[in-house]
Protein backbone atom coordinates (compact mmCIF):
# COMPACT_ATOMS: atom_id res chain seq x y z
CA UNK A 1 0.00 0.00 0.00
CA UNK A 2 2.62 2.51 1.15
CA UNK A 3 4.84 1.74 -1.78
CA UNK A 4 2.23 2.23 -4.46
CA UNK A 5 1.27 5.60 -3.00
CA UNK A 6 4.85 6.73 -3.36
CA UNK A 7 4.88 6.33 -7.11
CA UNK A 8 6.70 9.47 -8.12
CA UNK A 9 4.78 12.05 -10.04
CA UNK A 10 6.54 13.05 -13.21
CA UNK A 11 7.36 16.66 -13.98
CA UNK A 12 4.55 16.84 -16.54
CA UNK A 13 2.14 15.75 -13.81
CA UNK A 14 3.37 18.54 -11.59
CA UNK A 15 2.80 21.08 -14.36
CA UNK A 16 -0.68 19.67 -14.91
CA UNK A 17 -1.41 19.89 -11.20
CA UNK A 18 -0.22 23.49 -11.21
CA UNK A 19 -2.53 24.36 -14.11
CA UNK A 20 -5.49 22.84 -12.26
CA UNK A 21 -4.70 24.86 -9.12
CA UNK A 22 -4.49 28.08 -11.15
CA UNK A 23 -7.73 27.25 -12.97
CA UNK A 24 -9.68 26.56 -9.78
CA UNK A 25 -8.25 29.67 -8.14
CA UNK A 26 -9.50 31.75 -11.06
CA UNK A 27 -12.91 30.10 -10.93
CA UNK A 28 -13.19 30.82 -7.19
CA UNK A 29 -12.22 34.45 -7.72
CA UNK A 30 -14.81 34.82 -10.48
CA UNK A 31 -17.48 33.51 -8.12
CA UNK A 32 -16.32 35.57 -5.17
CA UNK A 33 -15.57 38.92 -6.78
CA UNK A 34 -19.15 39.95 -7.72
CA UNK A 35 -20.27 39.08 -4.19
CA UNK A 36 -17.53 41.20 -2.60
CA UNK A 37 -18.32 44.03 -4.99
CA UNK A 38 -22.02 43.99 -4.06
CA UNK A 39 -21.23 43.98 -0.34
CA UNK A 40 -18.68 46.76 -0.73
CA UNK A 41 -21.09 48.94 -2.69
CA UNK A 42 -23.77 48.38 -0.07
CA UNK A 43 -21.45 49.94 2.55
CA UNK A 44 -20.43 52.88 0.37
CA UNK A 45 -21.63 56.41 -0.19
CA UNK A 46 -23.72 56.96 -3.33
CA UNK A 47 -21.02 59.32 -4.57
CA UNK A 48 -18.24 56.73 -4.49
CA UNK A 49 -20.39 54.10 -6.20
CA UNK A 50 -21.45 56.47 -8.98
CA UNK A 51 -17.94 57.77 -9.59
CA UNK A 52 -16.56 54.25 -9.88
CA UNK A 53 -14.22 54.51 -6.90
CA UNK A 54 -15.36 51.20 -5.49
CA UNK A 55 -13.23 48.47 -7.06
CA UNK A 56 -12.81 45.97 -4.26
CA UNK A 57 -13.52 47.52 -0.86
CA UNK A 58 -15.55 50.60 0.14
CA UNK A 59 -13.58 53.81 -0.28
CA UNK A 60 -16.05 55.97 1.63
CA UNK A 61 -17.79 53.92 4.29
CA UNK A 62 -21.48 54.68 4.77
CA UNK A 63 -24.62 53.01 6.06
CA UNK A 64 -26.92 55.20 3.96
CA UNK A 65 -28.02 52.22 1.87
CA UNK A 66 -29.02 50.16 4.89
CA UNK A 67 -30.81 53.12 6.46
CA UNK A 68 -32.73 53.41 3.22
CA UNK A 69 -33.59 49.72 3.18
CA UNK A 70 -34.94 49.68 6.70
CA UNK A 71 -37.05 52.76 6.09
CA UNK A 72 -38.98 50.75 3.53
CA UNK A 73 -42.23 49.56 5.04
CA UNK A 74 -42.49 46.92 2.31
CA UNK A 75 -39.18 45.33 3.24
CA UNK A 76 -40.48 44.74 6.75
CA UNK A 77 -43.80 43.37 5.48
CA UNK A 78 -41.92 41.13 3.08
CA UNK A 79 -39.60 39.84 5.79
CA UNK A 80 -42.49 39.09 8.09
CA UNK A 81 -44.42 37.22 5.39
CA UNK A 82 -41.38 35.32 4.11
CA UNK A 83 -40.52 34.13 7.60
CA UNK A 84 -44.12 33.01 8.10
CA UNK A 85 -44.29 31.19 4.75
CA UNK A 86 -40.89 29.61 5.31
CA UNK A 87 -41.62 28.29 8.80
CA UNK A 88 -45.16 27.01 8.22
CA UNK A 89 -44.46 25.86 4.67
CA UNK A 90 -41.40 23.89 5.67
CA UNK A 91 -43.15 22.14 8.56
CA UNK A 92 -46.04 21.12 6.29
CA UNK A 93 -43.66 20.02 3.52
CA UNK A 94 -41.56 17.84 5.78
CA UNK A 95 -44.57 16.13 7.38
CA UNK A 96 -46.14 15.46 3.98
CA UNK A 97 -42.84 14.18 2.57
CA UNK A 98 -42.47 11.69 5.43
CA UNK A 99 -46.09 10.57 5.06
CA UNK A 100 -45.45 9.84 1.38
CA UNK A 101 -41.92 8.50 1.51
CA UNK A 102 -42.31 6.07 4.38
CA UNK A 103 -45.14 3.88 3.00
CA UNK A 104 -43.47 3.91 -0.42
CA UNK A 105 -40.24 2.67 1.14
CA UNK A 106 -41.99 -0.45 2.46
CA UNK A 107 -41.30 -3.27 0.04
CA UNK A 108 -44.23 -5.24 1.46
CA UNK A 109 -46.90 -2.63 0.71
CA UNK A 110 -49.32 -3.91 -1.94
CA UNK A 111 -49.61 -1.44 -4.81
CA UNK A 112 -46.40 0.32 -3.89
CA UNK A 113 -44.90 0.39 -7.38
CA UNK A 114 -48.11 1.68 -8.99
CA UNK A 115 -48.41 4.49 -6.44
CA UNK A 116 -44.73 5.36 -6.89
CA UNK A 117 -45.25 5.57 -10.65
CA UNK A 118 -48.27 7.84 -10.24
CA UNK A 119 -46.14 10.19 -8.15
CA UNK A 120 -43.08 9.99 -10.41
CA UNK A 121 -45.01 10.72 -13.59
CA UNK A 122 -45.72 14.24 -12.34
CA UNK A 123 -41.99 14.90 -12.47
CA UNK A 124 -41.99 14.74 -16.24
CA UNK A 125 -45.48 15.96 -17.14
CA UNK A 126 -47.90 18.44 -15.67
CA UNK A 127 -50.86 20.70 -16.38
CA UNK A 128 -48.79 23.85 -16.52
CA UNK A 129 -49.41 27.47 -15.71
CA UNK A 130 -53.01 28.10 -16.77
CA UNK A 131 -54.74 24.95 -15.46
CA UNK A 132 -52.83 25.43 -12.20
CA UNK A 133 -54.06 28.98 -11.92
CA UNK A 134 -57.65 28.02 -12.73
CA UNK A 135 -57.55 25.27 -10.11
CA UNK A 136 -56.53 27.70 -7.38
CA UNK A 137 -59.16 30.12 -8.57
CA UNK A 138 -61.86 27.44 -8.38
CA UNK A 139 -60.68 26.40 -4.92
CA UNK A 140 -60.88 30.07 -3.82
CA UNK A 141 -57.24 29.89 -2.81
CA UNK A 142 -56.13 32.94 -4.77
CA UNK A 143 -55.02 35.72 -2.45
CA UNK A 144 -54.86 33.49 0.59
CA UNK A 145 -51.82 32.30 2.50
CA UNK A 146 -52.81 28.75 1.53
CA UNK A 147 -51.75 29.45 -2.04
CA UNK A 148 -48.20 29.69 -0.68
CA UNK A 149 -48.28 26.35 1.15
CA UNK A 150 -50.56 23.89 -0.56
CA UNK A 151 -49.72 23.80 -4.30
CA UNK A 152 -46.07 23.00 -3.55
CA UNK A 153 -46.82 20.76 -0.58
CA UNK A 154 -44.97 17.74 -1.93
CA UNK A 155 -41.82 17.82 -4.02
CA UNK A 156 -41.66 14.36 -5.58
CA UNK A 157 -37.89 14.52 -5.92
CA UNK A 158 -37.60 14.98 -2.16
CA UNK A 159 -39.93 12.03 -1.62
CA UNK A 160 -37.59 9.90 -3.70
CA UNK A 161 -34.52 11.05 -1.76
CA UNK A 162 -36.21 10.27 1.55
CA UNK A 163 -37.61 6.95 0.37
CA UNK A 164 -34.16 5.90 -0.82
CA UNK A 165 -32.75 6.79 2.58
CA UNK A 166 -35.41 4.76 4.42
CA UNK A 167 -34.76 1.77 2.18
CA UNK A 168 -30.99 1.84 2.41
CA UNK A 169 -30.32 3.04 5.95
CA UNK A 170 -32.99 1.50 8.18
CA UNK A 171 -32.21 -2.20 8.79
CA UNK A 172 -35.10 -4.48 7.84
CA UNK A 173 -34.61 -6.56 10.98
CA UNK A 174 -35.88 -3.66 13.08
CA UNK A 175 -39.26 -3.88 11.39
CA UNK A 176 -39.52 -7.63 11.91
CA UNK A 177 -38.50 -7.32 15.55
CA UNK A 178 -41.01 -4.58 16.28
CA UNK A 179 -43.76 -6.50 14.47
CA UNK A 180 -43.16 -9.43 16.80
CA UNK A 181 -43.53 -6.99 19.69
CA UNK A 182 -46.91 -6.00 18.25
CA UNK A 183 -45.84 -2.50 17.25
CA UNK A 184 -48.16 -0.80 14.72
CA UNK A 185 -46.82 0.74 11.51
CA UNK A 186 -47.38 4.32 12.64
CA UNK A 187 -45.79 3.64 16.02
CA UNK A 188 -42.84 2.02 14.30
CA UNK A 189 -42.46 5.06 12.03
CA UNK A 190 -42.54 7.60 14.85
CA UNK A 191 -40.66 5.62 17.51
CA UNK A 192 -38.04 3.79 15.45
CA UNK A 193 -37.66 5.13 11.91
CA UNK A 194 -37.80 8.87 12.48
CA UNK A 195 -35.24 8.97 15.31
CA UNK A 196 -32.86 7.09 13.00
CA UNK A 197 -33.55 9.48 10.12
CA UNK A 198 -32.61 12.80 11.64
CA UNK A 199 -29.98 13.47 9.00
CA UNK A 200 -32.30 13.05 6.01
CA UNK A 201 -35.05 15.06 7.73
CA UNK A 202 -32.47 17.80 8.25
CA UNK A 203 -31.56 17.67 4.56
CA UNK A 204 -35.16 18.00 3.36
CA UNK A 205 -35.92 20.69 5.96
CA UNK A 206 -32.97 22.76 4.78
CA UNK A 207 -33.87 22.27 1.11
CA UNK A 208 -37.35 23.54 1.83
CA UNK A 209 -36.21 26.48 3.97
CA UNK A 210 -34.04 27.76 1.13
CA UNK A 211 -36.77 26.92 -1.39
CA UNK A 212 -39.46 28.86 0.49
CA UNK A 213 -37.26 31.83 1.27
CA UNK A 214 -36.27 32.18 -2.38
CA UNK A 215 -39.68 31.30 -3.86
CA UNK A 216 -41.25 33.90 -6.06
CA UNK A 217 -43.43 32.30 -8.72
CA UNK A 218 -46.41 31.16 -6.61
CA UNK A 219 -46.62 34.50 -4.86
CA UNK A 220 -46.32 36.36 -8.14
CA UNK A 221 -49.06 34.25 -9.74
CA UNK A 222 -51.50 33.79 -6.90
CA UNK A 223 -51.28 36.90 -4.70
CA UNK A 224 -52.44 40.40 -5.47
CA UNK A 225 -52.95 41.62 -1.90
CA UNK A 226 -49.73 43.47 -1.09
CA UNK A 227 -50.03 42.69 2.61
CA UNK A 228 -49.45 39.02 1.75
CA UNK A 229 -46.42 39.49 -0.54
CA UNK A 230 -43.25 37.69 0.48
CA UNK A 231 -39.93 39.50 0.35
CA UNK A 232 -39.02 38.21 -3.12
CA UNK A 233 -41.98 39.91 -4.78
CA UNK A 234 -41.08 43.25 -3.22
CA UNK A 235 -37.48 42.62 -4.25
CA UNK A 236 -38.57 42.24 -7.83
CA UNK A 237 -40.42 45.56 -7.69
CA UNK A 238 -37.44 47.39 -6.23
CA UNK A 239 -34.47 45.68 -7.87
CA UNK A 240 -35.82 44.82 -11.28
CA UNK A 241 -38.82 47.01 -11.99
CA UNK A 242 -36.99 49.86 -10.19
CA UNK A 243 -40.13 51.00 -8.45
CA UNK A 244 -38.40 52.92 -5.72
CA UNK A 245 -40.80 53.78 -2.98
CA UNK A 246 -41.70 57.45 -2.59
CA UNK A 247 -41.27 57.47 1.19
CA UNK A 248 -37.59 56.60 0.77
CA UNK A 249 -36.97 59.77 -1.18
CA UNK A 250 -39.16 62.15 0.76
CA UNK A 251 -38.55 61.42 4.45
CA UNK A 252 -35.39 63.42 5.02
CA UNK A 253 -35.51 67.20 5.13
CA UNK A 254 -32.82 67.53 2.51
CA UNK A 255 -33.09 65.99 -0.92
CA UNK A 256 -31.51 62.51 -0.94
CA UNK A 257 -28.05 62.26 -2.49
CA UNK A 258 -27.93 61.37 -6.17
CA UNK A 259 -27.53 57.67 -6.72
CA UNK A 260 -28.89 56.67 -3.33
CA UNK A 261 -31.28 54.25 -5.03
CA UNK A 262 -28.32 52.25 -6.36
CA UNK A 263 -26.75 51.89 -2.93
CA UNK A 264 -30.14 50.96 -1.49
CA UNK A 265 -30.42 48.22 -4.12
CA UNK A 266 -26.99 46.84 -3.25
CA UNK A 267 -27.90 46.90 0.45
CA UNK A 268 -31.21 45.22 -0.26
CA UNK A 269 -29.48 42.37 -2.11
CA UNK A 270 -27.32 41.83 0.96
CA UNK A 271 -30.19 42.06 3.44
CA UNK A 272 -32.36 39.62 1.48
CA UNK A 273 -29.58 37.06 1.11
CA UNK A 274 -27.95 37.21 4.54
CA UNK A 275 -30.46 34.85 6.20
CA UNK A 276 -29.54 32.08 3.74
CA UNK A 277 -25.81 32.76 3.91
CA UNK A 278 -25.84 32.75 7.70
CA UNK A 279 -27.19 29.22 7.80
CA UNK A 280 -25.02 28.09 4.87
CA UNK A 281 -21.84 27.11 6.80
CA UNK A 282 -23.92 24.99 9.16
CA UNK A 283 -25.90 23.25 6.47
CA UNK A 284 -23.39 22.75 3.66
CA UNK A 285 -22.55 19.22 4.75
CA UNK A 286 -26.23 18.23 4.90
CA UNK A 287 -26.97 19.73 1.50
CA UNK A 288 -24.17 17.83 -0.14
CA UNK A 289 -25.42 14.69 1.52
CA UNK A 290 -28.87 15.26 0.03
CA UNK A 291 -27.45 15.50 -3.47
CA UNK A 292 -25.60 12.24 -2.93
CA UNK A 293 -28.54 10.29 -1.53
CA UNK A 294 -30.59 11.57 -4.46
CA UNK A 295 -27.88 10.45 -6.85
CA UNK A 296 -28.12 6.81 -5.77
CA UNK A 297 -31.40 6.44 -7.56
CA UNK A 298 -32.01 8.74 -10.49
Amino acid sequence: MQKSKKVRSSSSDRVFYGIIVVFLTLVSLCVLYPIIYVVSCSFSTPRSVLSGDVILFPTEFSLAGYQGVFKYKNVWIGFRNSIFYTVVGTVLNVIATIMTAYPLSRGDLPGRSVITKIFSFTMIFGGGMIPGYLLLKNLHMLNTVWSQFIPGLIVVYHVIIMRTFFQSSIPGELLEASKIDGCSDINYLTKVVLPLSKSIIAVITLYRIVGHWNAYFNAFMYLSNRDLYPLQVFLREILIASQVDADLLTTGENAPPIGLEHVVKYSLIVVATVPMLVIYPFVQKHFVKGVMVGAIKG
Partner: protein
Protein backbone atom coordinates in the same frame (compact mmCIF):
# COMPACT_ATOMS: atom_id res chain seq x y z
CA UNK B 1 -53.97 -14.89 -9.67
CA UNK B 2 -55.31 -17.98 -7.95
CA UNK B 3 -57.47 -18.10 -4.88
CA UNK B 4 -54.92 -18.53 -2.14
CA UNK B 5 -52.69 -15.67 -3.11
CA UNK B 6 -55.68 -13.41 -3.65
CA UNK B 7 -56.84 -14.10 -0.12
CA UNK B 8 -53.33 -13.45 1.16
CA UNK B 9 -53.16 -10.23 -0.75
CA UNK B 10 -56.37 -8.92 0.82
CA UNK B 11 -55.07 -9.88 4.21
CA UNK B 12 -51.85 -8.04 3.53
CA UNK B 13 -53.77 -4.97 2.38
CA UNK B 14 -55.91 -5.04 5.51
CA UNK B 15 -52.83 -5.35 7.68
CA UNK B 16 -51.24 -2.36 5.98
CA UNK B 17 -54.16 -0.02 6.64
CA UNK B 18 -52.00 2.39 8.63
CA UNK B 19 -49.62 2.80 5.71
CA UNK B 20 -52.53 3.59 3.40
CA UNK B 21 -53.81 6.04 6.00
CA UNK B 22 -50.48 7.87 5.85
CA UNK B 23 -50.72 7.98 2.06
CA UNK B 24 -54.29 9.27 2.10
CA UNK B 25 -53.51 13.00 2.34
CA UNK B 26 -50.57 12.84 -0.12
CA UNK B 27 -52.70 11.00 -2.68
CA UNK B 28 -55.61 13.42 -2.31
CA UNK B 29 -53.11 16.24 -2.75
CA UNK B 30 -51.49 14.59 -5.76
CA UNK B 31 -54.80 14.07 -7.52
CA UNK B 32 -55.99 17.59 -6.74
CA UNK B 33 -52.87 19.57 -7.49
CA UNK B 34 -51.20 17.48 -10.17
CA UNK B 35 -53.79 15.35 -11.95
CA UNK B 36 -56.75 17.76 -11.88
CA UNK B 37 -54.62 20.40 -13.67
CA UNK B 38 -53.75 17.70 -16.22
CA UNK B 39 -57.47 17.19 -16.77
CA UNK B 40 -57.66 20.99 -17.04
CA UNK B 41 -55.52 20.69 -20.17
CA UNK B 42 -58.77 19.94 -22.01
CA UNK B 43 -59.36 23.68 -22.29
CA UNK B 44 -56.64 23.65 -24.96
CA UNK B 45 -59.32 21.97 -27.09
CA UNK B 46 -62.10 24.26 -25.93
CA UNK B 47 -62.95 27.91 -26.15
CA UNK B 48 -62.58 28.75 -22.49
CA UNK B 49 -64.82 31.37 -20.95
CA UNK B 50 -65.16 32.29 -17.29
CA UNK B 51 -68.86 31.48 -17.46
CA UNK B 52 -68.45 27.99 -18.89
CA UNK B 53 -65.38 27.13 -16.86
CA UNK B 54 -63.15 24.17 -17.60
CA UNK B 55 -65.91 21.62 -18.07
CA UNK B 56 -68.70 23.76 -19.54
CA UNK B 57 -66.90 25.68 -22.29
CA UNK B 58 -67.60 24.52 -25.87
CA UNK B 59 -65.23 22.17 -27.69
CA UNK B 60 -63.34 23.65 -30.63
CA UNK B 61 -61.03 20.77 -31.51
CA UNK B 62 -57.56 21.78 -32.66
CA UNK B 63 -58.47 25.37 -33.44
CA UNK B 64 -56.32 26.85 -30.66
CA UNK B 65 -53.33 24.79 -31.72
CA UNK B 66 -53.77 25.94 -35.33
CA UNK B 67 -53.96 29.51 -34.10
CA UNK B 68 -50.75 28.99 -32.15
CA UNK B 69 -48.84 27.39 -35.05
CA UNK B 70 -49.90 30.15 -37.42
CA UNK B 71 -49.17 32.88 -34.86
CA UNK B 72 -46.86 35.58 -36.22
CA UNK B 73 -44.65 35.02 -33.19
CA UNK B 74 -44.46 31.23 -33.48
CA UNK B 75 -41.14 30.80 -35.29
CA UNK B 76 -39.47 33.52 -33.25
CA UNK B 77 -40.67 31.91 -30.03
CA UNK B 78 -39.34 28.53 -31.09
CA UNK B 79 -35.97 29.93 -32.13
CA UNK B 80 -35.58 31.94 -28.91
CA UNK B 81 -36.65 29.03 -26.73
CA UNK B 82 -34.32 26.56 -28.42
CA UNK B 83 -31.42 29.00 -28.53
CA UNK B 84 -31.53 29.62 -24.80
CA UNK B 85 -32.24 26.06 -23.76
CA UNK B 86 -29.65 24.36 -25.96
CA UNK B 87 -27.03 27.00 -25.17
CA UNK B 88 -27.57 26.74 -21.43
CA UNK B 89 -27.80 22.98 -21.54
CA UNK B 90 -24.55 22.54 -23.46
CA UNK B 91 -22.58 24.89 -21.23
CA UNK B 92 -24.42 23.84 -18.09
CA UNK B 93 -23.63 20.21 -18.81
CA UNK B 94 -19.92 20.61 -19.56
CA UNK B 95 -18.80 23.13 -16.94
CA UNK B 96 -19.79 21.16 -13.80
CA UNK B 97 -18.01 18.11 -15.24
CA UNK B 98 -14.82 20.11 -15.82
CA UNK B 99 -15.15 21.52 -12.29
CA UNK B 100 -15.54 18.05 -10.80
CA UNK B 101 -12.66 16.52 -12.77
CA UNK B 102 -10.42 19.39 -11.68
CA UNK B 103 -11.48 19.15 -8.05
CA UNK B 104 -10.86 15.43 -8.11
CA UNK B 105 -7.25 15.97 -9.14
CA UNK B 106 -6.61 18.03 -6.01
CA UNK B 107 -5.65 16.24 -2.84
CA UNK B 108 -8.14 16.61 0.00
CA UNK B 109 -7.20 19.66 1.99
CA UNK B 110 -7.90 23.27 2.76
CA UNK B 111 -7.61 24.51 -0.81
CA UNK B 112 -10.05 21.96 -2.21
CA UNK B 113 -12.50 22.57 0.64
CA UNK B 114 -12.29 26.33 0.11
CA UNK B 115 -12.92 26.12 -3.63
CA UNK B 116 -15.95 23.91 -3.02
CA UNK B 117 -17.37 26.10 -0.25
CA UNK B 118 -16.97 29.26 -2.33
CA UNK B 119 -18.42 27.91 -5.54
CA UNK B 120 -21.54 26.55 -3.80
CA UNK B 121 -22.51 29.94 -2.34
CA UNK B 122 -24.33 31.44 -5.35
CA UNK B 123 -26.66 28.43 -5.43
CA UNK B 124 -28.37 29.88 -2.35
CA UNK B 125 -29.29 33.17 -3.97
CA UNK B 126 -32.85 33.56 -5.16
CA UNK B 127 -33.52 34.07 -8.84
CA UNK B 128 -34.80 37.58 -8.10
CA UNK B 129 -31.59 38.45 -6.28
CA UNK B 130 -29.49 36.89 -9.05
CA UNK B 131 -31.18 38.90 -11.79
CA UNK B 132 -31.11 42.00 -9.58
CA UNK B 133 -27.39 41.49 -9.07
CA UNK B 134 -26.73 41.07 -12.78
CA UNK B 135 -28.66 44.25 -13.50
CA UNK B 136 -26.77 46.18 -10.85
CA UNK B 137 -23.35 44.83 -11.80
CA UNK B 138 -23.93 45.60 -15.48
CA UNK B 139 -25.41 49.00 -14.75
CA UNK B 140 -23.44 51.44 -16.92
CA UNK B 141 -23.46 54.11 -14.21
CA UNK B 142 -23.31 52.37 -10.86
CA UNK B 143 -22.03 48.88 -11.67
CA UNK B 144 -18.87 46.84 -11.93
CA UNK B 145 -19.07 46.68 -15.72
CA UNK B 146 -19.41 50.44 -16.04
CA UNK B 147 -16.57 51.02 -13.61
CA UNK B 148 -14.15 48.70 -15.39
CA UNK B 149 -15.19 49.95 -18.82
CA UNK B 150 -14.48 53.49 -17.68
CA UNK B 151 -11.11 52.53 -16.23
CA UNK B 152 -10.03 51.13 -19.59
CA UNK B 153 -11.66 53.44 -22.11
CA UNK B 154 -12.39 56.54 -20.07
CA UNK B 155 -16.04 56.61 -21.16
CA UNK B 156 -19.23 55.07 -19.85
CA UNK B 157 -20.56 52.06 -21.82
CA UNK B 158 -24.04 51.63 -23.25
CA UNK B 159 -26.55 49.61 -21.29
CA UNK B 160 -25.93 45.91 -21.87
CA UNK B 161 -29.37 44.98 -20.56
CA UNK B 162 -30.84 46.77 -23.55
CA UNK B 163 -28.88 44.83 -26.18
CA UNK B 164 -31.01 41.89 -27.40
CA UNK B 165 -28.02 39.81 -28.54
CA UNK B 166 -26.50 40.02 -25.06
CA UNK B 167 -29.52 38.41 -23.43
CA UNK B 168 -28.69 34.71 -24.10
CA UNK B 169 -25.14 35.18 -22.80
CA UNK B 170 -26.28 36.99 -19.65
CA UNK B 171 -28.91 34.32 -19.07
CA UNK B 172 -26.60 31.35 -19.57
CA UNK B 173 -23.46 32.62 -17.85
CA UNK B 174 -25.28 33.99 -14.83
CA UNK B 175 -26.70 30.48 -14.53
CA UNK B 176 -23.22 28.99 -14.76
CA UNK B 177 -21.99 31.42 -12.13
CA UNK B 178 -24.83 30.38 -9.87
CA UNK B 179 -24.94 26.62 -10.34
CA UNK B 180 -21.72 25.20 -11.80
CA UNK B 181 -20.15 24.59 -8.39
CA UNK B 182 -23.30 23.02 -7.03
CA UNK B 183 -23.76 20.91 -10.14
CA UNK B 184 -20.29 19.45 -9.71
CA UNK B 185 -21.18 17.80 -6.38
CA UNK B 186 -22.86 14.83 -7.98
CA UNK B 187 -19.79 14.11 -10.15
CA UNK B 188 -17.36 14.67 -7.29
CA UNK B 189 -19.33 12.05 -5.35
CA UNK B 190 -19.15 9.61 -8.24
CA UNK B 191 -15.41 10.16 -8.60
CA UNK B 192 -14.83 9.68 -4.86
CA UNK B 193 -16.32 6.20 -5.19
CA UNK B 194 -14.14 5.26 -8.12
CA UNK B 195 -11.74 2.35 -7.98
CA UNK B 196 -8.42 3.54 -6.52
CA UNK B 197 -6.64 0.36 -7.61
CA UNK B 198 -7.15 1.33 -11.24
CA UNK B 199 -5.34 4.59 -10.57
CA UNK B 200 -2.50 2.84 -8.80
CA UNK B 201 -2.10 0.26 -11.55
CA UNK B 202 -2.10 2.96 -14.21
CA UNK B 203 0.47 4.97 -12.27
CA UNK B 204 2.79 1.98 -12.08
CA UNK B 205 2.40 1.58 -15.83
CA UNK B 206 3.55 5.17 -16.19
CA UNK B 207 0.26 6.85 -17.11
CA UNK B 208 0.26 10.62 -16.58
CA UNK B 209 -2.46 12.27 -14.51
CA UNK B 210 -4.07 13.66 -17.66
CA UNK B 211 -4.16 10.20 -19.21
CA UNK B 212 -5.81 8.88 -16.08
CA UNK B 213 -8.45 11.63 -16.33
CA UNK B 214 -9.26 10.44 -19.85
CA UNK B 215 -9.15 6.71 -19.29
CA UNK B 216 -10.33 6.34 -15.69
CA UNK B 217 -12.11 9.46 -14.38
CA UNK B 218 -14.27 10.21 -17.40
CA UNK B 219 -15.53 6.62 -17.80
CA UNK B 220 -16.30 6.66 -14.06
CA UNK B 221 -18.69 9.61 -14.29
CA UNK B 222 -20.19 8.60 -17.63
CA UNK B 223 -23.32 6.88 -16.22
CA UNK B 224 -24.06 9.90 -14.01
CA UNK B 225 -23.51 12.24 -16.94
CA UNK B 226 -25.90 10.20 -19.09
CA UNK B 227 -28.63 10.43 -16.43
CA UNK B 228 -28.14 14.18 -16.20
CA UNK B 229 -28.35 14.44 -19.98
CA UNK B 230 -31.61 12.46 -20.10
CA UNK B 231 -33.14 14.72 -17.48
CA UNK B 232 -31.98 17.76 -19.47
CA UNK B 233 -33.64 16.37 -22.58
CA UNK B 234 -36.96 16.61 -20.75
CA UNK B 235 -36.47 20.34 -20.35
CA UNK B 236 -35.43 21.36 -23.84
CA UNK B 237 -38.65 23.24 -24.48
CA UNK B 238 -39.21 24.56 -20.99
CA UNK B 239 -36.86 27.41 -20.42
CA UNK B 240 -37.59 28.42 -16.85
CA UNK B 241 -40.24 31.10 -16.85
CA UNK B 242 -39.08 32.96 -13.78
CA UNK B 243 -35.57 33.93 -14.76
CA UNK B 244 -36.38 34.87 -18.35
CA UNK B 245 -39.37 36.87 -17.22
CA UNK B 246 -37.26 38.78 -14.71
CA UNK B 247 -34.56 39.48 -17.30
CA UNK B 248 -37.03 40.60 -19.92
CA UNK B 249 -37.48 44.22 -20.90
CA UNK B 250 -38.88 46.09 -23.89
CA UNK B 251 -35.46 46.37 -25.49
CA UNK B 252 -34.37 42.71 -25.38
CA UNK B 253 -37.77 41.20 -26.10
CA UNK B 254 -36.76 40.09 -29.62
CA UNK B 255 -34.35 37.58 -28.04
CA UNK B 256 -35.97 37.03 -24.66
CA UNK B 257 -39.55 36.18 -25.56
CA UNK B 258 -39.80 32.42 -25.05
CA UNK B 259 -42.75 30.02 -25.01
CA UNK B 260 -43.41 30.24 -21.29
CA UNK B 261 -43.32 34.03 -21.11
CA UNK B 262 -45.63 34.20 -24.14
CA UNK B 263 -48.05 31.79 -22.47
CA UNK B 264 -48.08 34.05 -19.43
CA UNK B 265 -48.63 37.22 -21.43
CA UNK B 266 -51.47 35.85 -23.53
CA UNK B 267 -53.43 35.13 -20.35
CA UNK B 268 -52.37 37.63 -17.73
CA UNK B 269 -51.06 40.67 -19.58
CA UNK B 270 -53.38 40.71 -22.61
CA UNK B 271 -56.38 42.99 -22.99
CA UNK B 272 -58.47 39.99 -24.08
CA UNK B 273 -56.98 37.03 -22.19
CA UNK B 274 -57.13 33.75 -24.08
CA UNK B 275 -56.66 30.96 -21.55
CA UNK B 276 -57.31 28.27 -24.14
CA UNK B 277 -54.65 29.61 -26.48
CA UNK B 278 -52.10 29.80 -23.65
CA UNK B 279 -52.95 26.30 -22.50
CA UNK B 280 -52.54 24.95 -26.04
CA UNK B 281 -49.13 26.60 -26.35
CA UNK B 282 -48.08 25.32 -22.92
CA UNK B 283 -49.32 21.84 -23.71
CA UNK B 284 -47.45 21.73 -27.00
CA UNK B 285 -44.38 22.59 -24.93
CA UNK B 286 -44.83 19.86 -22.33
CA UNK B 287 -45.78 17.16 -24.83
CA UNK B 288 -42.58 17.77 -26.80
CA UNK B 289 -40.60 17.58 -23.57
CA UNK B 290 -42.27 14.30 -22.69
CA UNK B 291 -41.52 12.86 -26.12
CA UNK B 292 -37.89 13.99 -25.99
CA UNK B 293 -37.20 12.56 -22.55
CA UNK B 294 -38.77 9.26 -23.59
CA UNK B 295 -36.75 9.00 -26.80
CA UNK B 296 -33.45 9.92 -25.15
CA UNK B 297 -34.17 7.49 -22.33
CA UNK B 298 -34.84 4.65 -24.78
CA UNK B 299 -31.73 5.40 -26.82
CA UNK B 300 -29.62 5.55 -23.69
CA UNK B 301 -31.04 2.29 -22.41
CA UNK B 302 -30.07 0.56 -25.65
CA UNK B 303 -26.65 2.16 -26.05
CA UNK B 304 -25.32 2.50 -22.53
CA UNK B 305 -27.69 0.48 -20.38
CA UNK B 306 -28.22 3.58 -18.26
CA UNK B 307 -31.75 4.91 -18.06
CA UNK B 308 -34.16 6.79 -15.83
CA UNK B 309 -36.81 4.10 -16.08
Amino acid sequence: MHKMSKKKLWKKIAQSWQLYLLLLVPIVWLVTFEYVPMAGLQIAFKDFSNKGGIWGSPWVGLEKFKKFFSDRQFSRLMINTLRISIYSMAVGFIVPIIMALSLNILKDGVFKKTVQTLTYIPHFLSVVVLVGMVMQLFNPVAGLYGTIYQLITGTRPSDIMGIPEAFPHLYVWSGIWQNAGWGSIIYVAALANSDQQLHEAAQIDGATRLQRVWHIDIPTILPTAVIMLIMDAGKVMSVGFEKVFLFQNDLNISYSEVLSTYVYKKSFAATIPDFSFSTAAGMFNSVINLILITIVNQISRKVSETSLW
